[in-house]
Subunit: 344 residues, 2 copies
Amino acid sequence: MRKLSGENRIIQLLRDRYAVKNSLIKKGIGDDAAVICPAHSDEFLLITTDMLLEGVDFHREWTTPRRLGCKSIAVNLSDLAAMGARPQFFTVSLAVPTGTSERWVLDFYDGMTKPGSSNGAQLIGGDLSHTDNGIMISITALGESLNRKVLYRSGGRAGDLLYVTGLLGRSAAGLRLLEDGCTQSLSHAQKEALRVHQMPMPRCEAGLWLAQCGLVHCMMDLSDGLSMDLPRMCAASGVGAEIRSSDLPVFPESRLWNCDPVELALHGGEDYELLFAVPDSKSCLLEKNYPSKFPKITKIGRLTREVGKVWIIEPTKNRRRLSEHGYDHFRRPEKKRKQNKIKS
Amino acid sequence: MRKLSGENRIIQLLRDRYAVKNSLIKKGIGDDAAVICPAHSDEFLLITTDMLLEGVDFHREWTTPRRLGCKSIAVNLSDLAAMGARPQFFTVSLAVPTGTSERWVLDFYDGMTKPGSSNGAQLIGGDLSHTDNGIMISITALGESLNRKVLYRSGGRAGDLLYVTGLLGRSAAGLRLLEDGCTQSLSHAQKEALRVHQMPMPRCEAGLWLAQCGLVHCMMDLSDGLSMDLPRMCAASGVGAEIRSSDLPVFPESRLWNCDPVELALHGGEDYELLFAVPDSKSCLLEKNYPSKFPKITKIGRLTREVGKVWIIEPTKNRRRLSEHGYDHFRRPEKKRKQNKIKS
């Protein structure tokens, strides 16, 4: 019997098998969130679901219930941000080991509801269970479009310039600290890396702006690492890409704890920044109008005609294929410390 | 530190803590599904989330991937049925042990999508992960109201007559067979019990009709057993109840494999039938108009003024308090073979 052999393959199988046959569904399996058009409604409704499993996506000893709650909702809101939707509601399935205290559960919920409501999302229900295994969290978040403007992964065209928000590799640098047991007497940069890893900030406002501005062709969030996620954008858009390693907005401080900032930026994952493509002719306008209060944006490369091929140009001008080292649950089960998202 | 001490208490804590502060939310935590009113929409959107965990809610050896998929979606659609909503969409979080075959995953999805789409619900996305522990399933189902007619648990009034759809105790009788290792050379009744346990039928059409007919005060589905669920309806409606054991639509054949049909009807759980209350003055009209193509309905008792008290009248005319023996994850963790739902 064939074993599960990679998320992309499974998603493709499911997508082929359960292709949308419903005029109310604008986008089903295969993007950051599903997009539906409820009858009698002027706006699209966007729905995303993400799971976090103890031992796979997090270690309980490496976080607190509040931070875990915060991260759990953040990774879901990031999927809505990735399509330019406004978060509105969320439900939570939570299974905790027998003997877990009420305090733990309430702290977890508090951790979720604060970033949830500051981004406009309200807890409306869920399910609660006990388990003899690790903590299991599954959140479904709902958001709405504004003026039906939604960005998909699939709108990119050859020649578009590629941008990302914020910095890449900070979360992975924070994870490295936890793996190395470094949690005391931290420097400012180490605290920042840890904060980003434990409590990532979904880019909801920036995502909404980018969808509304009318200058962006496609967008997604970076959850599994640029080397995993950019090929997904390319596949969805039917293009290739090339990026310049020297242009990546890395987190150079991570060198101080023996990380390679470029490697983390490419393969680290869990940054929950936005990756988007803008036609060359509109990039100046976008850069000029992009609000300074949002996380800065950085041009990292462009989409190309070489369908499915993703190249990285090194400072030496060498060009090499960008291999996928991000996190894939089914391809590399031995590497178990990172978040997986295979939306939607 | 106080330990988790019962679902009802936890739900109450969460409900108090995260009370709705949003005019778009008609019903948040505490009913079978949340009810929201999207901006610019004429209809309510209903959302429910349910989890199934291996070792807690099911045993892999006792079912097939198709049947597990079928049950997983059924328990969610039942929550929509309980409020009279039309199922529309669903998302699935699935975590499977490393080494699970593609065939297993696809069979599971096939098992879900068939009853899903026959009830009008389309798979639109989800999340997929591996785990070193048991299978974990969390589904979120969405449905819409028709003419904004939705039934809550809270609409019951003293004097209302209580009805249930279908038979009670069949699922628990099927579970008993599995627990006893009886899966070969089954009688017709045993096959029926097993089928209901493994592939319950959500009462979507009956639920929609009951919400539309305008004669029903309140409704919920029976997931944890009448003895757990009826007190929840009473608490939500601020009433008490009395039921007659001789009026319960039991599954008498289960006596043949040493079950007590009345005990299973009261405490068995997982029947996914509907429980609803109708004013005395309208019960004749309801019984007359209720379509014969739907599962039959049975009058089992009435709501009373004795707030929070639920009585059962025995054939001897003795009246005793109905004790809660249904399934509660946090109260009785040692009893681990039944489905828990604590919506929404």
